[in-house]
């Protein structure tokens, strides 16, 4: 089945950094209408979509939030200072365009520095929204307002390139898998989580609401196939990644075996993933409440946390197929 790139583009372009997931949540819920048995939105804003199945409880988690910026100060000349929401490399930020929830556009620039390479840090950066003075700027944005990278989602025959692939891609894979699911052998809870980028917070609290036996997180992972990249196995176009470990989790053998079996039985292309940095919602699920057997299906992505996160469409397709087969195969 061809990947619905129009929907992928739509979910990647909705503004929703950590703690501000209301629009992306509404869009996901709207799109899934008719495919679930029931749903709830919990206190932190996690969207928990239930698809009944004959078997143990399985929680699927993909995070709705993206990295972003929050305005902390507006000076008399109309320039904005900001705090990070999630992790950024200041070198990547200079000259990036940003957009606020109300549509105001801006660009991140750096104060004049004596030695750019040495002195650059987050607190030397500002956002210029082109305001002529502080009062003009305050008419457009307020302290506490949020912005994200301003770049559109580009799709061609083989790849996607966009901000927020992390982790709208995970949400998208879960949405498409839910739609294709026939008779799951797990009682499935598709949880679209909040606040992953600031510390896996939504996944932690949603485990209390769902109380699952198994958990699978959906996220991007780093592709190590660019010039002079470190030696890790994940490659763009290499198939769905079945995670062994990252900084947040040692994936449960039961879940890894399940995924590998489903992939082999159904000729789905996959690659094993070992990541030394980074973490996903699986890390929180794994140790929340009295523990959840957890694994991760991820997509090898280049330039994660930049405004041009890039992945292969074939990997997306493999990840959707693998998910459907795992859920229909059962434990």
């Amino acid at each position: 089945m061809a990947v619905n790139t129009a929907l992928l583009k739509k979910v990647c372009e909705i503004i929703g950094p950590s703690g501000h997931e209301e629009h992306i949540r509404a869009a996901i819920l709207e799109d899934l209408k008719g495919y679930y048995d029931d749903y709830k939105v919990d206190a932190l804003g996690n969207l928990i979509v239930h698809k009944k199945g004959d078997g143990p409880k399985m929680m699927l988690a993909g995070h709705m939030d993206q990295i972003g910026f929050m305005v902390t100060h507006i000076d008399n000349e109309g320039f904005l200072r900001f705090s990070n929401i999630g992790g950024f490399d200041p070198f990547l930020l200079v000259s990036r365009r940003v957009v606020f929830a109300n549509g105001v556009q801006g660009v991140i620039r750096c104060e004049r520095l004596d030695d750019f390479r040495k002195d650059l840090s987050q607190n030397k950066l500002y956002i210029d929204i082109g305001a002529c003075c502080g009062d003009c700027a305050k008419k457009l944005v307020k302290i506490g307002d949020i912005a994200v990278y301003s770049a559109s989602c580009q799709v061609d025959e083989t790849k996607v390139m966009t901000p927020a692939l992390d982790d709208r891609l995970g949400c998208f894979i879960m949405m498409e898998a839910l739609k294709q699911l026939k008779a799951p052998k797990f009682d499935c809870y598709f949880v679209f989580t909040v606040q992953e980028e600031v510390g896996l917070r939504g996944a932690k609290t949603s485990v209390y609401n769902v109380d699952p036996e198994y958990g699978i997180a959906y996220d991007v992972t780093l592709a190590f196939d660019t010039p002079k990249a470190l030696k890790f196995p994940m490659k763009m176009g290499g198939g769905a990644c079945i995670k062994i470990k990252d900084n947040s989790v040692l994936c449960s053998r039961e879940v890894i075996n399940l995924m590998e079996k489903a992939a082999k039985d159904n000729n789905i292309k996959y690659q094993l993933e070992i990541l030394e940095g980074g973490g996903t919602d699986a890390g929180a699920m794994n140790i929340s409440k009295s523990g959840v057997l957890s694994g991760v299906i991820s997509v090898a992505t280049r330039y994660v946390h930049s405004d041009a996160e890039m992945c292969a469409i074939s990997d997306i397709e493999d990840s959707i197929n693998l998910t459907v087969k795992v859920l229909e195969m059962g434990a």
Binding site: L44, H73, V198, R201
Partner: protein, 337 residues
């Protein structure tokens, strides 16, 4: 004055008993129940079972300070630090243990230092506490390994509306909650006075599992940086501009919907407020935020200069306005269905 009583008292992480006693004494007759949990958190309920939203309040009882690590043969004492920057320590007066043995923090005198030493900040291993003893035996008559070490710094009013004290972080928060609980609020409130915040938000981790509220308001003394040479955008909060409301920090994203509820109450009641303009720092709010199935949190803090030192400075009006704000908030949103 309550804030004087609270800041003159001593309570280091793991040794908050004196603060807990004062709070219990203050609240006697004003609340329904008081429970001390296994970690030492004091959990207080008021209007339990009455109709309305159940609002949680939290502040931490512990302060920054030191611990006796080793008594040396010379009678001088080496110390371990809780949440302190060694640069602020030289020449401070301290009290040690429950007998409040006086000591001073000493280091090599300026006359004996070389130019390159003077150009560098003094590190912890160049500092010691001198209690006037001339041998280990003499020192150990009044001080033992593991004794807690507090700054000797009395509450003082000065300038216009300003006070100086140690431990405003977070006795200011404790004081705000006490005043709120003594007032005529009508809806259910559970207040948590936490232990061990300064060593890693530990008390609230346990308390958050016990208390299940509709939302939590965390009360803090927070950093102000409203002095030169900081640029305006580096001034995290400004003394006298009102209680500071949190937007984001390392432990929480404060949901906009709830921040907006608080700013609306401030505006309706003409109470000044400011936002805490940094993403740095972390508070107990993070633990309530992610406990159970998740709880919305709001952060309200009194701006303090020289936080984590014996001479923290705050504007009394910010403290009083924080009390007014939290009371007005409970009166309004406690009754919301």
């Amino acid at each position: 004055m309550l804030i004087k009583k609270l800041t003159d008292a001593n309570g280091l992480p793991g040794n908050e008993g004196e603060i807990r006693s004062i709070i219990k004494e203050e609240l006697e007759g004003h609340v329904d129940s008081m429970l001390t949990d296994r970690m030492g958190n004091l959990i207080v309920t008021k209007n339990a079972g009455k109709p309305g939203k159940h609002i949680g309040l939290s502040a931490h009882m512990d302060e920054v300070g030191m611990l006796v690590k080793r008594v040396e043969d010379s009678g001088l004492i080496r110390m371990g630090l809780f949440g302190l920057d060694p640069r602020i320590l030289p020449s401070k007066i301290v009290v040690i243990g429950k007998d409040k043995v006086k000591g001073v923090i000493g280091t090599k005198p300026v006359h004996m230092t070389k130019a390159d030493e003077r150009a560098k900040a003094i590190e912890l291993d160049a500092l010691y506490i001198d209690i006037g003893a001339s041998s280990k035996e003499e020192a150990e008559k009044s001080v033992s390994m593991g004794d807690f070490v507090y700054f000797d710094s009395e509450f003082t009013e000065f300038g216009e509306h300003k006070i100086k004290a140690k431990a405003l972080d977070d006795r200011a928060g404790c004081g705000i909650i006490i005043e709120v609980l003594k007032s005529d609020i009508k809806t259910p409130v559970t207040a948590v006075f936490c232990v061990q915040e300064e060593v890693g938000l530990r008390g609230s981790m346990a308390a958050a599992n016990r208390v299940s509220a509709d939302m939590f308001v965390n009360l803090e003394g927070t950093v102000s940086a409203d002095m030169p040479p900081n640029e305006d955008y580096e001034k995290v909060t400004v003394l006298g501009d009102g209680p500071a409301l949190s937007l984001i920090d390392r432990s929480s994203v404060y949901l906009k919907e709830y921040v907006n509820k608080m700013t609306a109450v401030a505006e309706e009641n003409a109470i000044p407020y400011q936002f805490r303009r940094t993403g740095a720092g972390g508070t107990d709010a993070g633990n309530y935020h992610t406990a159970h199935g998740g709880t919305p949190v709001i952060g309200v803090a009194v701006p303090c200069r020289y936080l984590h030192s014996p001479v923290s400075v705050m504007d009394k009006r910010d403290y009083e306005n924080a009390i007014k704000l939290v009371k007005a908030f409970i009166n309004k949103y406690g009754e919301e269905q």
